[in-house]
Symmetry: C2
Subunit: 192 residues, 2 copies
DNA sequence: TACATATTGGAGCGTTCACTCCAGATCTGC
DNA sequence: GCAGATCTGGAGTGAACGCTCCAATATGTA
């Protein structure tokens, strides 16, 4: 939507403001006015660049997820451990944004079909990446088994992530490492 | 708050209406007016019986969770499998209410400190019940190990529940059974 | 029956807030 | 430096909605 340089700069100012405010107050806690005031622009400028308040929020979440991607180019060089680490990093280091992500993906995705479909799509892509990494590490692993492993691992990570955001004292990294070790082990030797 | 018979009946009508509407439209999607219209009462009657719209929603979620409890009396007779089954039943059979539960616990709990604290408390209670059941089944299991097992298992179940609500084709029961088998097995033989 | 207490409906209050509109300023390619 | 597109602020719109208030009525109790 932005074509001129000033427009692109304004866009960045708005995204920074949105990131700051939404991190602190959550999606519902932030008004459009707060964002435009913080960015030093009028509402008209905002709507010249974004379709809605939500669109700006989606954008900052997207950027935050992309920032921790261990293989942004999609070259297939990431290991299962890389992916788990990235997930943990996102949940712990990008805490406030991770909160927003879950608020949107779970809180809204379960109610709004459009957001739900979007969430499901990105979930499926993530499962596939986890499964691919698992098969690279253990070529004897069948596609179906790898999918189940990936689905289970991701489910566990998501649950741990939620707990970690609810409980500041929760040590997600340790739990995630144990989870990865167990999940992988149970594939090598299905009944220990 | 209700003392007279008519009040108790009104309370039930309001809860039924809330259950119906909120199941269909989500918490934010339902207005107080919709609830009172559906229940055939005025706003005054509603507020005579409930502190807020939210209070009524919490109540129906509480009742739905209680309804699947395999050991409501807390006699310590439930097995790990019972608890996993109850969780799966809640997520699949009570689908619409489970949606509301997650919407509140995750979507709101991560933003509103009061709801967050409440969610964390019930999470801790649930971890304890899972851990107790695990130790009854395997008395050699240490308390710390049981807690880790419970925490991990619950995290996985939560993640699977979210996926199951997002993806109608997802077979949660099968994944949960596998998860239980693997989690338990990995404790008996930590490194397969 | 008389009295205290509970219940009732629903008008309306007070507020919030995303978004529209548009005239004028600014930009960029030619 | 001109034309046409883009960008700008911010007043204003319009709708939403949780909750209060209270006089009238119903209920239970002694």
């Amino acid at each position: 939507m932005a074509r001129y340089r000033v427009g692109l700069e304004t866009r960045e100012r708005i995204l920074s403001a949105t990131r700051r405010l939404v991190s602190e107050l959550g999606v519902e806690g932030v008004t459009l006015k707060a964002i435009t005031d913080e960015a030093g622009v009028g509402a008209g400028s905002f709507y010249n660049l974004f379709d809605s308040k939500e669109a700006a929020v989606f954008e900052i979440v997207r950027e935050a997820i992309e920032a921790v991607d261990p293989d942004p180019a999609g070259e297939g060089t990431d290991t299962l451990e890389d992916l788990v680490d990235a997930f943990v990093t996102f949940m712990t280091d990008a805490g406030p944004i991770a909160r927003i992500y879950l608020q949107l993906a779970v809180g809204r995705g379960l109610v709004d079909p459009v957001i739900g479909a979007r969430t499901l799509r990105s979930h499926r892509r993530r499962v596939e990446r986890f499964a691919d990494a698992a098969r690279r590490q253990d070529p004897t692993l069948g596609r179906a088994d790898a999918d189940v492993l990936a689905e289970t691992l991701l489910a566990g990570l998501t649950g741990l992530g939620i707990t970690s955001l609810l409980d500041p004292g929760f040590h997600m990294a340790a739990h995630a490492q144990r989870l990865l070790a167990r999940t992988a082990a149970s594939v090598d030797a299905p009944r220990g």
